[in-house]
């Protein structure tokens, strides 16, 4: 179900958590119902922080804390559109997303962020924006955005335009 080639990719270095969150907020402002952001990266790389930024861009009221969804698997927040915050940390490989009832969310009326998305990579929607977070020192992070599908490509294009002044590279050779 996955297209192997991203239509567009972009990389960016953030110097600290505040910059990472700001970048995520910029992306959150662009999200529309049905958009899926797949967050990948090891422990402490900033997946929950990135989700907090997305929530801010989606206008989730600040009284809601965007906490790690590891325990509950899925948290739902009201915003300008519903924001579903998922976490596959505790999902074992090979589990069917349908069995978990997550398909309703993935193809629903809200924006979706999935932490530890690499756990069920083969079951992720074909249309998705992957964000790979990697350590680049203690506070700095290297972010790789990969847009799979047309809608994610449009979101990423808009993000690049808005956030500007950074190296943009074409799709993988």
């Amino acid at each position: 179900m996955t297209d192997d080639q991203p239509l567009l990719s972009w990389e960016r270095l953030t110097r600290n958590p505040a910059e990472t969150k700001l970048l995520a907020e910029g992306l959150g402002r662009l999200l529309q119902p049905g958009d899926v952001i797949a967050l990948m990266g090891e422990l402490g790389s900033g997946k929950t922080l990135f989700s907090q930024g997305l929530a801010r861009g989606l206008q989730v009221p600040e009284a809601y804390y965007i906490t790690s969804p590891t325990f509950a698997i899925i948290n739902e927040y009201p915003g300008r559109i519903p924001f579903y915050h998922l976490d596959l940390y505790r999902i074992s490989a090979g589990v069917d997303l349908l069995e978990l009832g997550l398909d309703e969310v993935l193809y629903g009326q809200g924006a979706v962020a999935i932490e530890w998305a690499e756990r069920l990579k083969e079951q992720l929607p074909g249309e998705r924006l992957e964000v790979h977070l990697a350590f680049s020192g203690e506070a700095a992070r290297h972010l790789d955005f990969l847009a799979f599908g047309v809608k994610p490509e449009l979101r990423l294009q808009a993000l690049i335009e808005n956030m500007g002044n950074t190296r943009v590279r074409p799709s993988f050779e």
């Binding site: 090891e42 422990l43 402490g44 929950t48 948290n75 490989a93 756990r119």
Partner: protein, 362 residues
Amino acid sequence: MKVLGIESSCDETAAAVVEDGCRILSSVVSSQIAIHRPYGGVVPELASRQHIKVIIPVITEALQRAALNLSDIGAVAVTQGPGLVGSLLVGIGVAKAIAYSTGKPLVPVNHLEGHIQAAFLEEAPASFPCIGLVVSGGHTNLYYVEDHGRSTLVGRTRDDAAGEAFDKVAKLLNLGYPGGMVIDTLARKGNPKAISFPRAYLEKDSLDFSFSGIKTAVVNFVRRYVDVGEADGQQPGEQSLKSAKLLPVQVADIVASFQEAVVDVLVQKTCAAAQQFRVRQVVVAGGVAANSRLRRRLEEEVGRLGLHLQLPKPELCTDNAAMIAAAGFHKLKMTGGRWDLDFDAISRWPDLPGYLPDDRPK
């Protein structure tokens, strides 16, 4: 009145009979630790299946130990949430069936409200008003508790729950499962002052918590010395310490220092809450309340302020059904209400300030 409590919100299947909300006649807990150990964490779909297998035997055992029949029970209380939805539904389904077939009232109970009740099940029960810290793998909440069933949320975590940080650090250091217990044991051999991990106290007067920074600081510390990578047999994306040989300190020192940082913040915020709300009583519950270092430090610091601390014994701190039966009794007594059998599991309550745990989400 004898209340049958049923709890299945996460990885323990539990049933208990409690009389008048304070006397435990029986309490049975079937743990799933062994089932989830190979995965290093609770796997939701395995948890639900196991709940289905054992819930009837667990309830039967609880009734037998109390030497009672279902007809002797005055009401049934069941955890409505928060928790894993598939797990919650098992307990709720059975509870509804029992209530329907016996005609007894069924009370849905908030799991966190239940945890606070644990402090009132001890021989020398706690007094009101009090500050309640509920600290577990899924929650880190501070409540101002005026009476049974009247708790107001006054502090909460902004990112990770304390227990979640324990589990994730244990996994990073390849220490096994459950992380909280493993770290508690190993930390006794380590120096809590070996490494100074950051404590997040947030804004002045804030009763909120943040544990994500401590977790990341441990990751950063380990990464400085050794390669962290995917080991054989791990899940995609899962990273852990491959070799501890290159570390400048013992792993025991790392976990002792990490634990100390978490405990410092929990103790400081709990004491600050007690002072802000001018209460004489502090109660603590939840799985992390079984941590021996946290217990000792709470006893010292709460004692230093001249306040009373009620720390339920570890088996009442971790998930159990006696606390659910007790909470159900008080809720029934307070409202005198009868709940329809059509209520659903609530996986996540909105942890908003001022929210009573028993309020339904709006």
